[in-house]
Structures are given as C-alpha cells and as structure tokens.
Amino acid sequence: MATTTPNEVPGDTPGTRAPLVLGKPTFSTVTEDVSAIAESKPTPKYLLGLMLAASILLVMVGSLAKLVTTGVGVWGLDNTVFWAWDITGFVFWIGIGHAGTLISAILFLFRQKWRTSINRAAEAMTIFAVMAAGIYPAFHVGRVWFLYWVFPVPNQMSIWPNFKSPLLWDVFAVSTYATVSILFWYMGLVPDLATIRDRAKTRLRYIIYGILSLGWRGSHRGWLHYEKAYLILAGLSTPLVLSVHTVVSFDFATSVIPGWHTTIFPPYFVAGAIFSGFAMVITLMIVARKVLGLEHLITIRHLENMCKIILATGSMVGYAYGIEFFIAWYGGVEYERFAFLNRAFGPYKWAYWSMVSCNVIFPQLFWFKKVRTSIPAMFALSIVVNIGMWFERFVIIVTSLHRDYLPSSWTYFTPSIWDISLFCGTFGLFLTMFLLFCKYLPVIANSEVKGVMPQANPHPEHHDEEAHAHG
C-alpha cells in the first residue's frame, strides 16, 4: 500500500499548495477515470470481496433472527448493566456517520475545495453507517414488530409517545439525519448519474441510469436551482449533524447516573464522532484509491488534511477526558468521584487505558509530517482510532453502570456470543453496501472535481489558483 506514483506530491509545501488533481487531466479523462469504475465488469477479486462481506452480513441476519425469536436475554445484559454492546454499537456507528456529513456540508460551507474528491464516498459511508446504527435501537426494543410505536401514530387507545424523553428525541434526530443524508447524497449524485447515462452502451443501462438521473442535462438554469439547493442542504445539514450526536449524548447526560450526568457530553460526543468518522474515511479511502486506481484524484494532500482533522478532534477528545476527571473532583460529589476513579482504576481499567492510548496518545503521532504523509502509518492509526472510539463508548456506558449505588448489585459485564456476532455482523452490512456502491455508482463527485480543476475557471486571465466550485 506504500507505493506512490511518480507525480504524487507529498502534501502542501509552504507558499504553494499541492494541486487537488494530480497529473494533467482533462475534463474527459476525469469523466473516464470516475465512470469507468461503474462500467467495468466486476473482477473475480471484487466478487470474492463482496461474497466475504455478504457472509459477514449473514452473521448479522442470523444474530438478529436468534434475538427476535428468543428475546434480548440472549445478550449478556443483567439487572445492573442493562445497556452494553447494543448501545455501544449504536453510538459507534452513528459517530462514524458524522464525518461524511462534516465533509459534505461543513467543509462545503467553509469552501474547503479539497472535499470534492472524497465527499461522495464519505456521504455513502454516512448512510451505510446510519443503517448499521439503526439496527440496534430497532432491535433493542425487544419486540421489533412494534417498532412503529416510537412514532406518533394515531391509535385506538389515544396513547402517544413521551416527547419529554431523550430517547424519543433520538428517534426524530436519527430518522431526520438518515433522510437528509440520503437526499443530500442523491442530489449530489444526479449530475454524475447523468454522465453514466450518457456513456451507456446498452439500452438497459441507458434506461436505469436515465431514470436515476431524472433526465438531468446540465442546463445552467437547472444548475442555478441546483447549486442553491446544495448550499441550502449543506446549511441545513451542518446544525443537523451537530444536533444528532448532541441528542445521542442526551440519552446519557439527562439521566442521573454518575459518569453520564455531565454537561460536557454534547460537544465531547460530537468531537469524538468526527474523530472516529474521519478515521473510517481514511481506512476506506486508502483501500479504495488503490484498488480503483484513483490516486491522482484522492491525493496525499486529501489524506493529510484528514489526518490533521483527526489530530485536532483527537486532542479535543483527550481534553474532554481530562476535564471529566477535573469536574468529578471539583464537583465534590462522592458518587461522581467514585464513578471516575472506578473507570480508570476499577475492573474495567484495561478498557479505559486502551481507550486513552488509542484516542489520545497514538493520534499525537500525526504532529509529524512523516506520519501524516505515510500511507501505512495513517492506515494503522486510523484503525487504532476506531478501536479506541469503540472502547470510549463501551467505557462510558458499562463502567458507569456496572457498580450501582448498592454494592450488592455490583456486577461485571461479559458479552455473550450474540453480542459479539451482532456487532461483527454490522460490519458485514456496512461493507456489503459500500462495495455495491463502489461498483454501481460514481465513487467520486465527477462534476465537483471538474469544477475545482484550473481549466474550469471561466476567467483564466485572473489567475485564480483553483476555480470556484459551486457558487
């Protein structure tokens, strides 16, 4: 994975910026490079990968079948630890989703043009991560066939959901997030689907991509509405993405459990979500750019920028870990103090210190440019970060619960095989969806990448370094 093409520029050099698209591509070579992926026949390697992912997906289906037919008792939960791997998995996946929206919306509003070659795949990742996350609350209700009770559906008993519960806020936040992410993603896809339609060689592809692209033809009157719509959706998604993990953190923060009842949770959760999400984007992009031959579009500069965001958010998370301890001491509540001392030095100290080293210590290596621009190093670190972020949720949830106010109900949570198989299975869902996406849809925002190429500038005499993308 460490091979670099000769024209690869290692990141930014002071004064001049590394170009966003390497080599000397024309508009048509970009079209070709991006669209050819969705047009070529699946290779045996791809099919093998897809089958592997689908087998892991089957593990998820089997685990859910066992869960539904038997009940949530198949998990390792007990009276004290009533939330464990299920909610950990939910928060883990929802957090991963956040990077996609951050890249597509927040970086768009900040006019960060480097987002263009990674936003499509990151948005797809968001949607698949939210799907994986949604599995948990849906099945954790126990009787999944009554899941619709979480929505305010009129019924003969005139019973309505409890709008004062953060769990119901979660229903609204996550379902809005899933809907808006899909709309935003699809809206971005339409011009690129039209490109694939116009390159179609068979009638079937022409019809399928023709319908998916809604008949888009790049009319400038259309682009005017489209660009405004894209800006508005970015503007809506930005507070939305911050609200989603805030509401997720309310699930804990509005309770009275020591270790959960803290006001720092919303910003701390949002920073952690972005942190883990970018790590997942790096993991996926390093593999995808290599396998799909997109090294000139997803460059070292893109990866390095993401490493910088990981470093920043990782440090924020580290700060939050520290301040939690300070407040536990400064607040003077003995239960709160106990919860935190128990977290760091109690029976789960192995989990706590794994979390600290993965999330706070190792990402500090990204201060070194050598590490930020080394593909094997960032690949390894991105996986370390995601392991650390899983531990973070596990530590917050389980260590705060397992030693209750009454020492007689203290327990030590051990996951059952079904906890483990369901969590592993959600990776199958995520990877299967991602592999299908890579094969059948444009993985790079074709029209947006063209928009940031130097020759896209209609006023070349002004010598803009990069042409303006979108409005």
Partner: protein, 194 residues
C-alpha cells in the same frame, strides 16, 4: 482506462430527428468554459433572451453572462421549514393534551423540552421541500428533452460546453443565429426539434 471518453460515445444510440417536429432551438458547442462564457456574453449583448447553457459542472458566474435571474428556491424552503416548525408545535401540543404524561412534574406542554423535536422537524421539512422543489423548478424528472437530439449531447455531461437558444426568442432566426454562433467559435451548431 486509457482510451479517450469520446470513443465511448461512438456506438451510443442517437435519438433520431423527427419527420416534422417543431423547431425547439439552436445549439452550439465550445471546448472550454472561458469560450462559452465569452460567447454567452456576446449573445446576451446581441439581445437574445432565451439563452441557456449546458455544462458538465456549474460554470461560475455564467448566469450573469446569460442574463438569468436568481432562483426562488429559498422562499419555498423557508415555507417548508415554517411548516415543519408549526407542525412540530401542534404535534407535541396535541399529543400531550390528548394523553398527558406527568414526567418529572413538568406541565403537559413543556415546550422547552420539545426543542429538539421542533429543530429536527424544521430541518426535515426544509430539506424535503428543498429536494422536491429543486427538481420541480428544473422541470425534472423528464424522459426527454429536445436538446438530447443534438449529436454531441452526451458531451454535455462530460467535457462539452453548450449554449442553447430557444426558438421562441423574438430575435431567433435560423440563419442569423447560426451565423452568429459560428462567428463566436461554436462547433457543431445544430438546430434541434422537439
């Protein structure tokens, strides 16, 4: 992957010219956004009103060269968001009036607790409005548009920069318009039929 994308278009089915369709308008193609921009300015200054462009990506500022007015989309989105917010207030009010739940001694309609619901519903309705109204304003979805009859239409989503002039434009004249387009450097000038 090395072959040029133009080869890909060669065996592409081109929509046939209709026997006696109405003239929709004239199309001309340019190779660069700068050439297109310049041509659009000239056409606008020559008095053409029914101008549009077809480009693989939004060419920055082209609406000025085409003399187009800004989109009305934000007003629709505002209305959508207001509907979402109002709907959220009515929903929480009605549900808590119909089935009051005493949670932590709060009054049934504790609007402060419902702010997350209001926020999410405002965003949801704004986004749905934005999405659907955009396609409505773009007159999409559609299976067909006369511009798709141009023999190089597929390049409009690849690397071709088209200017289109509507035949309903009072200044439109098959010969004059063609001559002006060719003078401005347009390639493959073609009159298309609906």
């Amino acid at each position: 992957m090395a072959d040029s994308s133009h080869d890909a278009h060669e065996d592409k089915p081109v929509l046939p010219e209709p026997e006696n369709g109405d003239v929709w308008g004239m199309m001309g193609m340019f190779d660069t956004p700068a050439d297109l921009y310049h041509a659009c300015e000239e056409l606008r200054d020559a008095g053409y009103k029914g101008l549009d462009a077809m480009t693989p990506f939004p060419v920055h500022g082209l609406e000025k060269a085409l003399g187009l007015s800004p989109t009305r989309l934000p007003f629709f989105v505002l209305a959508g968001g207001a509907t979402g917010l109002t709907g959220g207030v009515l929903l929480t009010w009605y549900c808590n009036w119909d089935y009051p739940l005493n949670i932590a001694g709060k009054v049934p309609f504790s609007w402060q607790v419902y702010i997350p619901i209001y926020f999410e519903l405002t965003v949801l309705f704004s986004a749905l409005t934005c999405f659907f109204v955009t396609w409505g304003l773009c007159k999409l979805p559609t299976f067909f548009h006369p511009t798709m009859r141009h023999k190089s239409f597929p390049r409009s989503t690849d690397d071709g920069f088209f200017v289109t002039i509507d035949a309903t434009d009072p200044k439109y004249d098959a010969d004059d318009t063609r001559r002006l387009l060719e003078k401005l450097g347009a390639k493959e000038v073609q009159e298309v039929h609906s």
